[in-house]
Symmetry: none
Subunit: 415 residues, 2 copies
């Protein structure tokens, strides 16, 4: 039986446009992957009667509803009360949630309002969070079900991606599975990736395995393989289909495939450095710390990352990194920065970035100009790039991605 | 009469999460500005019966509906037909739209499917677009109205921002407005802010001004004040109500209010530094460049930000920053890092961070331990914090926010 599940995002800030609801799209994607139909999604404000009415409408059409938001400790968080009304029950104080709150506040007084989070509808099952403080709820309504999950994206993803989808799949009574894998490509535009991969799209047409493309500035191009399978060995069958398709795509894309799934460019660079037994130093100007921050987001980065210098003013470039006099948005300055930071930090390899993030041009160079310097164990080089516009933050993100990919390519060649 | 208008976003790709619906948030913001209430927003796929059902529901609750998407030339663009069914009329071929299509294709053959865009419900008024090819529609249904606008954001914005809002305001016969302002609070948890502000919630109950809370790790807690007013001087009245409520909240929250509206912690810190004529240097260990990256996201940061050192290994802490031998996750090390980076970069003020981001404990200190060092023109101090868990990235974000807020508080006291 194919279940239908709706999504109800709760919060006046969503209706007023102060926050864009990205949760519903993420949930819609997970439902589709799990083979659960989603025909309606709605947003409603922090108003008891309207939440109740929206839940009644949704349960009239579908088998399940995922309510997102309104589970926090403040007076405008009223999802718990609205669901209780739809279930026709009262609230009970949950001992386990209460104990969890006390533990979280470690001896400090729990603000009284936080205890509201321990009040759950009678007959509902709390889903305890490992992140944040808002527990989720599984609430049966007749033969149907309402799930309540927090609006904070990281907490929502943990709950929907785990217990909620599991419960829905169990209710559907079907042993079907959908598995996805991402191949990550850098240094090649999305349209080119699509062109190279076109033969596979044709070969898969009408079958249970599909390919899709996603692209963005920090993540590069992601090629998503999705495989569906059913029956008792559904998971093994889906995994085998993913393996086969990954091999076929790697045949076409070659070295452009830098990583799989959650492996960002920083993970791939770190793995290459660790493998070669090299330690990296970074000198940043226009990116102001973004490259270092991305590299150190990888657990265990200290094995291959020594540190960095953010040389935001020409004085710091000269005094700390030994950059010579004259303009600093140049190939020479980039090379001096790379060599300087490698020496100052006692590293094996260094990458540097100097350029113009905007809003204004600098040293007569337009916004988007970037020079990346490399020092690979004393071998110093630099490359110029002209990044697109789109605002200061986007230019900075693109510059960081460009420099990390350039480093990745050089490390690949060297080893 | 205050009108209520809903938004119905149409497109299967929205439900599948392949495209995030940002249009509804944008429309919601425009409606609020125009003093038009928006209590529900919904998404539905490219399915005739479900679009018709969603329109009937919306018109049962509200005075108007803005339908977004499904006006293109392809077979799955069926908004025109669905609206005609709700109006109880047929489609007519519109001569002006047809002529516009021919002109747009300038002598080339108009693809036959494009002529579908010239078929509009009887009794509707087309709104011709200056961008793209999809015309919008104003469709009266009894005393109510359905607007159809394209899903392409630039085309949607032109039509909603102009003719649609104008038509709605004319129908409301009222000069009403809604204005919002955010007060930004750092260093105080959301539940505590709610507790402190509780008396205002009571005082405002039932009136035209409301308060709500939004919280996240990098943005801190935002207290939103929303004021509604009507009549010829609606805007002035709403602004006065915002001013009065801001004053009342500042009375309760005191120095915890760091900024207004879009001002992030980095903007506030930058303003305080620029005002005092001071230049900042940053030494980062566990945050690995996040603090520098946030500070340099502010345009013109080079006026008050000299640069930073990411001292990710103990060796770099000692060689570049002059940290003494012994453990580095300590108050002493934090102080030495701050003093060292201030000196190395020739800055007036410095902040430093050393701690444990995880996944593993370090020097017997648990994940979440943070020491922040400060050097204010030679006056050196440090403070220890124990940040919550939630994973490496969240701990790092919290640490950066904590250090920036500590710097903000010291700069406030000093000047």
């Amino acid at each position: 039986m194919a279940l239908a599940c709706e999504v109800l995002a709760i919060g006046t800030e969503l209706l007023l446009g102060q926050v864009v609801d990205t949760n519903s799209a993420w949930i819609g994607e997970r439902l589709a992957e799990a083979g659960i139909s989603c025909y309606y999604q709605a947003k409603v404000g922090d108003n008891h009667d309207r939440i109740v009415a929206a839940l009644h409408s949704a349960l009239g059409r579908s088998d399940a509803v995922i309510c997102c938001g309104g589970l926090g400790p403040t007076q405008d968080d009223i999802t718990r009360e609205a669901i209780a009304e739809v279930m026709g029950v009262g609230l009970r104080r949950d001992q386990a949630i209460e104990a969890g709150l006390r533990e979280r506040f470690r001896g400090r007084d729990v603000p009284v309002s936080n205890y509201r989070q321990a009040d759950v509808p009678e007959g509902s099952t709390p889903v305890l969070a490992s992140v944040g403080t808002a527990p989720g709820l599984i609430c049966p309504v007749g033969g149907k079900v309402v799930y309540a999950v927090p609006g904070v994206p990281s907490e929502m993803r943990e709950m929907v991606g785990g217990p909620v989808i599991e419960d829905l799949v169990a209710r559907s009574g079907e042993q079907a599975t959908v598995r996805s894998r991402f191949l990550r490509v850098w240094g090649v535009p999305e349209s080119k990736v699509a062109e190279v991969v076109a033969p596979r799209l044709g070969a898969l047409e009408g079958g249970p395995t599909t390919i899709a493309f996603l692209a963005n500035v920090t993540e590069g191009v992601r090629v998503r393989i999705t495989a569906r399978a059913s029956g008792p060995d559904a998971t093994a069958k889906a995994t085998a289909a993913l393996d086969a398709e990954e091999a076929a795509l790697r045949e076409l894309l070659g070295g452009a495939v830098g990583g799989v799934d959650d492996e960002g460019l920083e993970v791939v660079v770190g793995r290459l450095l660790a493998h070669a037994g090299l330690r990296l130093a970074v000198a940043e100007s226009m990116t102001g710390g973004l490259v270092s921050a991305r590299l150190t987001s990888v657990p265990g980065a200290s094995r291959w990352f020594a540190g960095g210098v953010v040389s935001y003013t020409p004085q710091v470039k000269r005094s700390v990194l030994g950059v010579g006099p004259g303009p600093v948005v140049t190939s020479e300055a980039a090379q001096e920065m790379a060599a300087g930071v490698r020496q100052a930090l006692g590293a094996d390899v260094a990458v540097s970035l100097t350029g113009v993030a905007g809003p204004d041009a600098q040293e007569d160079q337009p916004v988007g100009t970037l020079f990346v310097g490399l020092d690979l164990q004393g071998e110093v080089s630099a490359r110029k790039a002209v990044l697109g516009g789109g605002g200061r933050q986007l230019v900075r993100e693109r510059a960081a991605t460009y420099a990390l990919d350039m480093l990745r390519q050089h490390l690949l060649q060297a080893h």
